[in-house]
Point group: C2
Chain length 539, copies 2
């Protein structure tokens, strides 16, 4: 028997209606390439999103078509977040840091029809433009300078008219947005988000035990709008009426701190790399910026070392550790402190806050080891599998499921985790980065975090190198802090008290820079290639 | 084009899976009829819910069948909340305070197959048992005393076995629960909640700007589990892992305060009547109970006067005003304080907190007056219309839509409201209680709240009486506080500065008790009958 409730679709147009009717005068601030601040409101956003939908329709964009963006975080990009789905089309954010080859593949695989590109990012499209067949390229800037073979965004908007917009109500399972997973193995794979996934994810992100985003928040997503929809924050903010601050291309520590202070930011989010930059600036001049006390800083994208959380606490800023993937829209888990830990030692609480956290509502998790599902004992490691209403069920235009789904329909994350008795997930490794030594698993992430606890270490990556007896052994690649010194033996001594004996790397090599991929993660495949022949020095 | 996300149904079984996997050891405390406390955990709840599902299946209950309950708030009732939907059947909560005639109508209209009834409420079923055809009656108690023609709940559970449970995954639009609207006009009407509606409502109730229920909360629903699923709190708590405290039949101020203090309750919810009882006890002995500072108290069901909020603030307890209906699962709006009111005067903030609030995420509202939709100016009155994913789309087994739905599919609430420029809804009246005087509308609720601000007034109801010239005029029916005195002229003088001249009632009559309906609301129809012939003394 069916229930007798309304058929009400959870959609991006419904989110925008809410923002316009209740939060019309709340502000959206963008830093422009000339460093000036552009200010407008949700009322302006709604009107301009409709204008954009009209303009795109005039250009021939149909429901279901893909409209790509190549842009920083700013109001015009936000207009595409809402305007493209208003039309029933799909907003496809391209990662500006990918190679021309990858971008050409992605644009072709997605079948993008129109591209909206930042004026400052025009050099990026030259890397792939010749190899794709985009119908239109629209340049986003505030200058409206004419360019051969391209349209200008503001000129287009000026000749459009929001009042010509014909509302259409998408179904909640219709596609709304698209993002390609970074593809550290194989080709990038397209994730096609439904309206429903984004709407539910927005609700989940506002729940008290997740990110608790509220109307009173001023949210600055450092995470780029081309990384999983800026972790969904622009949609969550619109749903709850939070003010938004979009930092444009300026993501260095000082620029962000200036913006945090000036706009009274209460909530920000990004990958660990960003926070290291901010910590460095803060440590140098702790009193320079009047930040909102207790500003929440969500760290995701890769594991943050516990020392990062502790160091920000000293500045009165609250790091919240979260986990997610392109395939999970992305919020999967948040390391909030459970009530049973009230009164626990500082050490226990930090240990928990440095884990990836508890799964959010309606996201289910389990971990599978070589002998089936592993117990939640905080020790046994297995590959994290998830399911939920905002988890991808398949990839776009992919020949098969890429081996990423179980027979019973769970998504295989590729993350090797343990789950403790309280339910906290801890990422031990990416499955491809796991070191398999003599039939045992060694977590490269645990070794890296331990190494980064050494005062002389700026960054550390641990990789597997082939070994004749143990199949694989760990090798640490270390970048020291400027002006600091440490020897291989010192670092290995430093590790010994905190890890199992067989986990201690066979060698430490020092480097000036650890290569990163387009999303800022260590590019371990390059390191493995570089050090493949590294001769084990121990055991 | 469809998105490519998982098909994941939002269901009560999914909520229970989450509670069992993450919050197995969190506590559920029930006060039993002998005043002792029964304690167990979500792990126990899950196991017993499955046992109940098996037992009901053994009794012949099929998916889609209705299983009625007639019970206070306690753990066995909670087991029915989960166990019945686990089986794919519908848990139908009967209001213990309805007349035998109404209960007979409701049980027959719903087609209830099995009834679970509290031992202490057996006298209630005698009022209607002869007129309905229930297949089975199961008595919930801890005594297991055999009774002619009835089964015993604990005996049934002892012979059942959770391990025999065969999981079935309902679709999210399947029916899960049922509740009849109190029917102040016409027959009671059945609302049939889907799994989806309850699941989304649970997420919404945990959002930061609504009730913000979190894992750290200890939640005591004073609101009965037969009023709109205790406002959904048992499901919300299970989703987020909050501890639950169920007060059984003891709802007087002192009993509740004892339980608040003993169990360290952080969140409670109920109708204004309950809070008046608690205030009286607190005012009498302010230091007797060590309550959790900042305990949140949600007030709904009918409008609470501003004075209630102010008086609780003096005790360090935080009243949160909310609005909803049986037809809205029920959460529709919450009066959280918007950021634009930070720094506003105490008076402005209290004014806003005494309104019914802003619509929650994905609930859309509008108000329709005699000339169409009214502006959001805080003055114009209209009937509130709502739509959203947890709003009823039709009634169960009703011949037509009862005139309660607009042509474009919104639900007509019957509440007369104004909406201010910040979006706050304020209920001015039920449409049937509105006083229409000389072509103008007069809000009985506004007059009642103003009268209840007088120190001598305990309760006040204002009703329309027929008038030869003005069609209708307001009449105030007042119950004074024990030992207090006030004259008609004093009360009318008291009103004059705060209301329009033509709003001042034509007369005040004093009474020892104002009649209430089964949900604790003033029974104005009875008052209108009683005072129909009351001769206007003024104008």
């Amino acid at each position: 028997m069916k229930g007798l409730m309304m058929e009400y679709d959870l959609t991006i147009p419904a989110i925008l209606r809410r923002a316009e009717s209740l939060f019309a005068d709340k502000s959206i601030v963008s830093r422009l390439p000339d460093r000036s601040l552009h200010r407008y409101t949700y009322a302006d956003l709604g009107r301009r999103a409709r204008s954009l939908a009209v303009a795109l329709k005039d250009l021939g964009v149909q429901p279901g078509d893909r409209v790509a963006t190549l842009a920083w975080n700013h109001h015009q990009h936000l207009e595409a977040y809402f305007g493209v789905p208003l039309l029933g089309a799909v907003v496809h954010t391209l990662n500006i840091r990918l190679s021309g080859e990858d971008l050409a593949y992605i644009v072709a695989n997605a079948g993008d029809k129109v591209l909206l590109v930042d004026e400052t990012l025009l050099p990026v499209i030259e890397k792939f433009r010749a190899n794709v067949s985009l119908e239109r390229i629209v340049v986003m800037s505030s200058t409206a300078r004419p360019r051969e073979g391209m349209l200008d965004y503001e000129t287009l908007m000026a000749s459009s008219d929001a009042s010509r917009f014909e509302p259409r109500e998408p179904k909640e399972n219709d596609a709304a947005a698209m993002c390609y997973s970074s593809g550290t193995t194989g080709r990038p794979k397209g994730v096609l988000y439904s309206h429903r996934a984004i709407a539910l994810h927005s609700m989940a992100s506002a729940m008290a035990d997740t990110l608790a985003i509220s109307e009173g928040d001023v949210v600055l997503p450092v995470v780029p709008m081309f990384h999983v929809n800026a972790w969904g924050l622009p949609y969550t903010c619109a749903l709850v009426g939070a003010a938004q601050v979009l930092p444009g291309p300026y993501l260095d520590g000082e620029s962000l701190l200036d913006l945090f202070a000036r706009e009274r930011v209460t909530f920000t989010a990004g990958v660990p790399t960003i926070w290291f930059g901010i910590l460095a600036a803060l440590d140098k001049a702790p009193d320079r910026w009047a930040l909102r006390p207790g500003m929440r800083m969500v760290v995701g994208g890769s594991a943050a070392p516990r020392s990062l959380i502790e160091r920000f606490d000293k500045h009165g800023l609250r790091v919240l550790h979260a986990w997610g993937m392109t395939e999970t829209t992305p919020l999967g888990s948040v390391a909030f402190v459970r009530s049973s830990l009230v009164g626990a030692s500082e050490d226990e609480v930090y240990t928990v806050r440095a884990k990836q956290g508890l799964p959010v509502a309606f996201v289910e998790v389990r971990a599978r080891g070589e002998n089936g599902l592993v117990p939640h004992d905080g020790v046994a490691m297995g590959e994290l599998e998830v399911r939920g209403p905002w988890v991808a069920g398949s990839y776009f235009s992919a020949p098969d499921d890429q081996g990423r789904f179980t027979d019973d329909g769970w998504f295989k994350t590729g993350d090797i985790v343990s789950i403790d008795p309280l339910g906290y997930i801890e990422i031990k490794d990416r499955s491809k980065d796991l070191i398999k030594s003599g039939g045992e698993w060694i977590s490269s992430v645990a070794l890296e975090n331990a190494l980064m606890g050494h005062p002389a270490v700026a960054e550390a990556a641990v990789i597997a190198v082939p070994h004749p007896k143990w199949q694989e052994r760990p090798l640490a690649v270390v970048m020291l802090r400027e002006g600091q010194k440490a020897t291989e033996e010192e670092l290995l001594e430093f590790l010994r008290p905190s890890v199992a004996r067989f986990w201690v790397p066979d060698a430490v090599v020092f480097t000036d820079a650890i290569p990163r991929n387009a999303t800022g993660k260590f590019l371990k495949s390059a390191l493995r290639d570089r050090y493949r022949e590294h001769v084990p020095t121990r055991i």
